[in-house]
Structure formats: C-alpha cells, structure tokens
C-alpha cells in the first residue's frame, strides 16, 4: 500500500487512501459495484 500512497501528490489524498482498508477490512465485502484496479481496463500505472 505504501507504493500507492507515495504516488499521490496531495498529502491529504495519501492520508485518506486506504484508511478504511487498514482499520476496517470487513468493508471490502461492500465491494460490489466498487471499481478495482484489476477490473479497470485503463488503470493508471502510478
């Protein structure tokens, strides 16, 4: 996850990124309808 955090310019976005994954991994169950990098055809290679 650290790699992704460094990819964003904004410190606020780096802080927000993955905050729920860290503290609330159960929320991943809600992923239905949530786009993931794996699913995106044109994912950014940051």
């Amino acid at each position: 996850m650290e790699k992704e955090e460094k990819a964003f310019k904004s410190a606020k976005v780096r802080r927000i990124w993955g905050s729920a994954l860290k503290y609330l991994p159960e929320l991943l169950e809600e992923l239905k309808g949530v786009k993931s990098d794996e699913k995106s055809k044109k994912s950014l290679d940051l």
Binding site: W17, G18, D37, K42, S43
Partner: protein, 208 residues
C-alpha cells in the same frame, strides 16, 4: 486562453474506491481536485451512505468481539483454558477498546474527501422526485441510487459555466440504462463507467 472548467460528478462507490485503496484512478482524480485542476462533486446522500455503512460495520465488529470475549470468560473458568487463552482474550479486548478510535479515523477520512469536493445537497424535493421516479418505474431502480441520481439532476440544472461535465460511477448494473444515458446527454453530461476512461477524458481537457 482561459483554462477549461471541468466537473466530475461521482457517487458512493468513488468514496469506497479511495478509502479502501481499490482504484488508483479515483485517487488520482481526487489528487487533481486537490490541485484545483478539476472540480469533483459528490452527493451528500453518498457520504451519508458511507457513514452509515462504516458505523454499522464497526458496531457489528464490536458486537462479535463482545460475544467472543464473553465466551472466552466462560471457558477460562477452568485453569487449563485460563493458561492457554489469556493472551487471545487480551488481544481481542485491545481490538474492542481500539474500535471507537479506529471508527473515528475512518470517518475522518470520509470527511477529508468531503473537504476536497463540492457536496451536492439533498432536500425534500429531491426525495419527492425520487419517489415519483419509482412510481414511473424509471431507472435507477434502487431507492438509494434514485436519491443520488435525482440530486445529481437537480445539481446540474444550472452548471452551464463548465466546459465538461462527467458523471462517473462503476455501478454499471444500476446506472447504465438508456433512460439515464438519454437524460444525461440532454443535459450535456457525459456518462462513464470506467475510471480509466474518465482519467483519459479529463487529462485531454486539462492538457488542451
């Protein structure tokens, strides 16, 4: 030459994509918003949905932990189990104690997303229109999605000062309907269901 004004409208799954570190494209778009290169607007209703889900998940975790700790207490009436289970119980207790602090941090993250976006307000009239939509059997068919969609239609009524307006959702099943595509097109809103395509479209505008 005047810089083009770009508005990206997202909904609940955008917030989840970021706080669950699932889609870097969404993180990148939020980065662009923080640099004021684009505006991102998200319905108030979406933030309430996220808040409700986070609260519910933490409560469910706390309830489960309380049950397990209570069961461990019963087992630990025997000396044998007391020796083997003491560390497990202490760790679970710590998890239970930390729960409110962790909940606060996750909720704070959602608030920080808010601070980078325009919040699309919700009101009784929007709810009424969503109700009428259900009576007319028009998509989206889930109540939450209808509320979100109607708030977006209301918000974009007077957004003529933008050069580009995009509606992005990864929820293709619930939003990719002809009626919705036509309604958005009438308002000059481009609909996307792939975040990579959104990044590409936005970058074309930002660079031009």
């Amino acid at each position: 030459m005047k810089n083009p004004k770009n508005l990206l409208i997202c909904e609940t799954n955008f917030v989840y994509s970021v706080i669950l570190a699932q889609d870097r494209n969404c993180g990148y778009l939020l980065d662009l918003a923080s640099e004021k290169k684009i505006d991102i607007a998200i319905p108030e209703f979406s933030f309430l949905e996220v808040r409700g889900k986070i609260g519910e998940r933490f409560k469910r975790r706390e309830d489960k932990l309380r049950d397990i700790i209570s069961f461990l207490n019963e087992l630990m009436r025997s000396e044998y189990h007391k020796r083997t289970l003491y560390d497990v119980k202490e760790k679970l207790k710590q998890l239970y104690i930390n729960s409110p602090k962790e909940r606060k941090e996750v909720l704070q993250s959602a608030e920080e997303i808010k601070s980078l976006c325009i919040i699309i307000p919700h009101n009784a009239e929007i709810s009424y229109r969503a109700f009428l939509r259900s009576v007319a059997n028009l998509p989206p068919y889930k109540n939450g999605d209808r509320q979100i969609y109607e708030s977006i239609l209301d918000f974009t009524k007077d957004k003529g000062d933008y050069d580009l307006i995009i509606f992005y959702t990864s929820d293709k099943d619930d939003f990719n309907h002809k009626e919705i595509r036509d309604e958005l097109e009438e308002r000059g809103i481009e609909a996307y269901f792939d975040s990579g395509n959104v990044v590409q479209r936005v970058m074309d505008m930002v660079i031009s």
